[in-house]
C-alpha cells in the first residue's frame, strides 16, 4: 500500500513515515499543502494522511480541491483541534477519518488499514487468525474446531484484535469498539476482559495469544 503523509512538522512526519514503512507499506512525506496539490499526492496514493494546519494552504483546502476534482482516495485528517465542530467541518470537507493530535501511532496504523480495507474489500462475515475462527454472523468463536463461549464484550474485543492481527490495538480503540465511548480515564476497564479471554483461549498453552504491550495496548500475534 502506498501511503502519503502531508505534514509540516518533520518530527511527526518522520515518526509516522517510519512506523508505516515498518508496518510493510511505502510512505512518502509531503511537507506542505501546495506541494501536495502540485504533485497530485491524493491521486497517486492509496491512503493519504493530511494535517489540517499546514503553511500556505490548509489541509481542508487541499482535501476540498481534490474532492471537487473527483479524487476518492481515502483521507485521514490529523489535527490539534478536537472539538465536535472541528470534526464536523473535517468530515464535510470529505475526510474519511479524523485523528486528534497527540495520537497513538498504533491507532493511526490501525485506521490506515481499516480505511484501506473498507474502500477496497467487501466486508467479511468470518475472521480467521491461525486456529481461531470468528463468525460475525453467528457470534461464535471456534478454536481448532472447538466452540468457545464468549460474553458479548469478550467477543467484541477479540473481533478487533483479530481484525488487526499482528498489530497493536490501543485501549482507547477497544473502548470505542466495544462500548462506543473513548474512555481514557485512570481505570483500565479492558484488562479484566482480556484476562478472561486469555483464560478461555490459552488453556493448553504456556504463552498467551494476546500480548500486553506495555503502555501501548494489546496485540494478537498469530501467524
Amino acid at each position: 500500500m502506498h501511503v502519503a503523509i502531508v505534514e509540516d512538522d518533520p518530527v511527526i512526519a518522520k515518526a509516522v513515515a517510519t512506523a508505516i514503512r515498518e508496518a510493510g507499506h511505502e510512505c512518502t512525506w509531503v511537507p506542505d499543502g501546495e506541494t501536495a496539490v502540485r504533485q497530485n499526492t491524493l491521486l497517486s496514493n492509496d491512503v493519504v494522511i493530511l494535517d489540517v494546519m499546514l503553511p500556505k494552504m490548509s489541509g481542508l483546502e487541499v482535501l476540498s480541491a481534490a474532492r471537487d476534482a473527483g479524487v476518492k482516495t481515502p483521507v485521514i485528517l490529523l489535527t490539534a483541534l478536537g472539538t465536535v465542530t472541528d470534526k464536523l467541518s473535517g468530515f464535510r470537507s470529505g475526510a474519511d477519518d479524523y485523528l486528534v493530535k497527540p495520537f497513538a501511532i498504533d491507532e493511526l496504523l490501525a485506521r490506515i488499514q481499516a480505511i484501506h480495507r473498507r474502500t477496497s474489500n467487501k466486508p467479511t462475515m468470518e475472521i480467521e487468525a491461525g486456529p481461531l475462527q470468528l463468525s460475525l454472523a453467528t457470534k461464535r468463536l471456534s478454536l481448532d474446531g472447538r466452540t468457545i463461549d464468549l460474553t458479548p464484550t469478550e467477543f467484541s474485543i477479540l473481533e478487533l484484535l483479530m481484525r488487526f492481527n499482528g498489530q497493536v490495538v490501543t485501549r482507547k480503540m477497544l473502548c470505542e469498539h466495544v462500548w462506543a465511548f473513548d474512555w481514557d480515564g485512570p481505570t483500565n476497564v479492558i484488562e479484566v476482559h482480556i484476562n478472561r479471554l486469555r483464560g478461555k483461549l490459552d488453556k493448553e498453552r504456556e504463552d498467551s495469544y494476546i500480548q500486553t504491550i506495555r503502555g501501548r495496548g494489546y496485540a494478537l500475534a498469530i501467524d
Binding site: G82, T83, P102, T153, C175, V178, W179, A180, F181, W183, D184, G185, P186, T187, N188, V189, E191, V192, H193, N195, R196, R214, G215
Partner: protein, 491 residues
Amino acid sequence: MPWPSIDVPLLRRIPWGSLRVRLTLLNSAAVLLAMLILLFAVRVGVRTALFNATEQTLLGEVREVAMSLEEYYPSSGSFVASRDLLVAELRRKAESHRDRSWFLQLLENNQDGTTTVWASDNCPEEILTEPIDEAVKEKVKRAARHRWARKLIDTIGGQKLYVRIGMPDVVIEKEVDNLTWFLLPIGIGFTLLTPLAGYWLALRATQPIAGILKTAGKLKPTKLGDRLMTRGTNDELDQLSATINRLLDQVARHVERQQQFVADAAHELRGPLAAMQNSLEVATSKNRSLDSYQGTIEEALGETRHLTKLANDLLLLAEVGNSLGSVFNEECDLGEVARQTAAMFGGTAEERSIEFTIHTSGEATVRGDERQLRQVISNLVDNALRFTPDGGRIALAVESNQAAHEAIVTVTDSGRGVEPEHLDRVFDRFFQANAARDRSDIKRGGGLGLSICRSIVERHGGRISIDSPGVGLGATVAVIVPLRLVRRKPL
C-alpha cells in the same frame, strides 16, 4: 433651500449628551408647560367668575330699582311724579358707578313702540334702541361687547315701564388684563428659575454617578480591590453601587480562581515535562545499555500519555466552558447512559469483588450531549472505583422527580469518603485531597475529572453535589439535571 446653520460657541460648549443637561432640560420643559397651563386656566376661570358676578350684580340693581318705584308710587301719589323720582335715583346711580362705566336707561313701551324716558349719556346707541321682548319680565342680555340686565318695573294703563342697567365688557377685560400683568412677571421669574433649580437638582442626583464613574474608571483586571462607596440611603443609586460591587466581588473571585488554575495547570504540566527532560538528559549523557535506553523511553512515553490526558481534559473544560448557554437539540436517556456505563465498569468491579448495583426508575430523559453526560457518569463511577477498597460497594441510581422536573443520578460508594473541610473543594480544578505525588498511582487521576463533571452538568442547566458522612464512610455524588420538556396533550 438648506437651513442656515446657527453656530453659537456657548451652545457648542454645553455637553448636550450629559445626563445632567438632559435632566435639566426635561425638568424645565415640564415645569414650564405646567405653569403655562395653570396660568391660562386661572385667567379663564377668573374671567368667567367676574362676568358671572357682574351679571348677578346688574340683575340685583334692576330689582332694587323696581322695588324703589313701588316705594315712591304710594308716597308721591302720581305716576309721573314717582317716575321723576325714579329718574333722579337712576341719575345718582349712574353718577356713583361712572368709574365702572355703568349705563342706565328707563323706557316705556306701549302699542306705538318703545320710547326712552331717560338714559345716562354713556348708554350705547344700539342698546338704547334694542327692542324689548315683552314675554320676559326680567333678563340678562349680552350684545355688542356689553352686558345688561332689564326688568319690567310697572304697568300703568297699558304703559309698560322698564329699566336697563348694564356695563361694557371692556371693564372686566381690563381687570383680567391687570391680573395677567400681575401673573406674568411671576411666570417669567419661574421660567428663569426652573432651569437653574433643575440643574441644581440634576447635579445633586448625578453626583453619586460621577463617583461611580471615577471609581470604576480606576479598576483594572489586575487591580480589582476598589469598591464603590454606598451612602446607606438604599436608594436606586445605592442599589446600583451595591450590585456593581457584588459583580466586582464575583469577577475578582473568578480572576483569582483563573490565576490559581493557570498556576496549577503549569505545575501539572511541569511535572511530566521535568521527568521526561531529566530522564532523557541522563540517558543521553553517556553510553548505556540497550535495556537502560528502553526503560527510559518507556518512562518518557508514560509521561507523554499523562500530558495527553491533561491536554485533553483542559480542552474539554474549555470547550464545555465556551459553549455555556448554548441550546441542545438532542435528547439523552440518562437511564440508558447509566446502563452503558455500568456495562463498561462492571467487569472491573466484579474482578475486585466490589458489589456494583445499578438502579433506574422513571423516565429520565434530558436535553443534552450524550457523550458529555456519559463522561460525567463514567468519571463518577471511575472515581468511586478508585477510592473503594476491594470487596466494597458502589451503587449507581437514576431517578426522576416529575414534580420538580428533574433527573437525579447518584453514585454512592463505601470508599475512603471526604473530609468535611474538603467537601466544597472537591469540584475545584486540580483539587486532590492527600494526593499521591506518583503520577502512575491509580488513585491519582488527572485532577480535573470532577471539575469536568461540574462544568458539563452546569452546561446542562443542572447542579452537582457531594456528601460524605466522614472519612472511611464512603461518599455520595448527586447530579441533578432538568428533565426535557414534554409538550402536554391538550385536555
